[in-house]
Symmetry: C2
Subunit: 244 residues, 2 copies
DNA sequence: CCGCATTTGTGCACACGTTCACAAGCTCCT
DNA sequence: AGGAGCTTGTGAACGTGTGCACAAATGCGG
């Protein structure tokens, strides 16, 4: 589309896309597309059609094309999308080009599992700090990272340069931890505690509630057992990550 | 509303509500209301208005009322909702009245954390079986539960009576595990592996992808850093769990 | 017994998200 | 060079979700 576009995908990179307004629903699906593209790339696929990519990502082909159209026209009619180029463009758009530094607050069962999870690295994130209040934990190491005390949060944040915080404390402490993080300038929080966090509107807060997910499953399971199934014909295979 | 309504909420229980069609978006919020109600109940609150409950659950009051109206008319105009009664009704609707038996496939970092998580019990779920392929793990115990071998899946499912399966295996194995579960009659699956699972449409599959959540956060964080913030005035504090 | 303050339940309008259907554009083959 | 066969990008229809605004209903105090 641009006058000169080399074989190397990097050439035609513009500013951060349309600069404004990618629908939230689209943003929520872009990571899925990126994962699908990585998978295809690993298998040596160089070009992919919207249909095939949509299958891999588990969405409707029209939806995929509309989503991608919000980033720009990166496909070629009659051919499809260059896997490498599209991967680069989506990666740039959602900021997976850089390695985001992440801090984990609350190194219990879940916090430890997250800290040891190798998956994060391949997705563009790096755990750079661990914080807890339990003095028995402070000072010990996980994967070469020393656990710091919650009282030193501000210093730990400054030293590590973390930009995204993950809260894995018990629900009671979550709001207090959130307030402290916000006071220290953190504006992106992922919360695993089963509480609604209130934060200033410029702070992005996302929640992952396992219990909630199970309860939604239980609702559907109960309906099936109640014999209301398969009374109607609508699709029930639901894949959620954000809201349906 | 019903002619005779005793102090004990159990009296007026009908069939499974309107029997059909509670919007999916509402279903996704009901667990949150239930949690809020439990919290209020713990604090000795007996009656609550839609405004207060909405605050606790982090939603719009009108939304809350509309959601609840799908279950029936359980409030009293001029007064509000009985915490105990509403809790009972929502619990019955989403099936949290019973203790759902859960099986966890893949007892690694994450699977172990989930198995040890006491939260589940209080939300109406009980881990009744653990399965793995790693022979070093099979036979060992976690919280009094012996880890079974994946090859004995069918027998383990039958013996434990599990109705909901949680997949915490590496992504490569997830689809195979899913297929086996479906073949054994499981119709509700929660998947933590970063893959899109394909299953028959009568099987409900939900996905939790931490990497995806972080990437969505990273997108917003990048926009803030890019100085596109606070250029516009719209709300950005997003709380997700399902999808929008 | 009546009027007032309060809160629910819901009709309605709007915004957002999804899917269809098709013109525009590309490649390849003859 | 030209047409056949695909595939993208997008306008338009449709469906779902959200939030306002208000009538209906309840309790209370005088
Ligand atoms: N483990 C799971 O599988 C799971 C599943 C669903 C939800 N959750 C939720 O995730 C959260 C963590 O779960 P967990 O199993 O790891 O709990 P956990 O009790 O094992 O760990 C909590 C950790 O947080 C630390 N902590 C407490 N207060 C703190 C504070 N103010 N600042 C810093 N650290 C603090 C504790 O010392 C402890 O190490 C809980 O809210 C739980 O409900 C966990
Ligand atoms: N640990 C985390 O915090 C985290 C975060 C995000 C995503 N995930 C995802 O969750 C999944 C599990 O993560 P983890 O850290 O626990 O990994 P892990 O490697 O620690 O555990 C995986 C377990 O699954 C078992 N397993 C492998 N194949 C199996 C099969 N066919 N049947 C039964 N069991 C099998 C392995 O023996 C192992 O015990 C992965 O897909 C990972 O990407 C984990």
């Amino acid at each position: 589309m641009s006058p000169v576009e080399g074989a190397t995908p990097v050439a035609a990179a513009g500013a951060t896309a349309v600069a404004k307004g990618i629908p939230e629903a689209t943003v929520a699906r872009l990571p899925g597309y990126l994962r699908a593209l990585n998978h295809l790339s690993d298998n040596g696929v160089a070009t992919v059609s919207s249909g095939d990519l949509a299958d891999e990502a588990g969405v409707n082909p029209a939806q995929l094309r509309k989503d991608l159209s919000h980033l720009g026209s990166y496909g070629t009619r009659g051919v499809g999308y260059s896997v490498a180029y599209l991967r680069f463009q989506i990666g740039r758009e959602i900021g997976s080009a850089v390695d985001w530094p992440v801090i984990i607050i609350g190194v219990g069962n879940l916090g430890t599992a997250l800290a040891q999870n190798a998956d994060f690295g391949s997705r563009g994130f790096r755990v750079v700090a661990l914080v807890d209040t339990n003095s028995a934990l402070v000072g010990t190491e996980i994967d070469g990272l020393t656990i710091e005390h919650q009282d030193d949060l501000r210093r730990t944040l400054r030293d590590s340069g973390a930009r995204i915080a993950v809260i894995t404390t018990p629900p009671d402490s979550a709001q207090a931890v959130c307030d402290e993080l916000v006071a220290c300038g953190i504006t992106s929080i992922l919360n695993f505690a089963a509480t609604v966090l209130s934060a200033p509107h410029e702070v992005t807060v996302r929640k992952v509630d396992l219990g909630q997910e199970l309860q939604i499953l239980a609702y559907h399971e109960q309906r099936k057992l109640d014999g209301l199934w398969p009374a109607d014909d609508d699709v029930v295979a639901v894949v959620a990550g954000e809201a349906p």
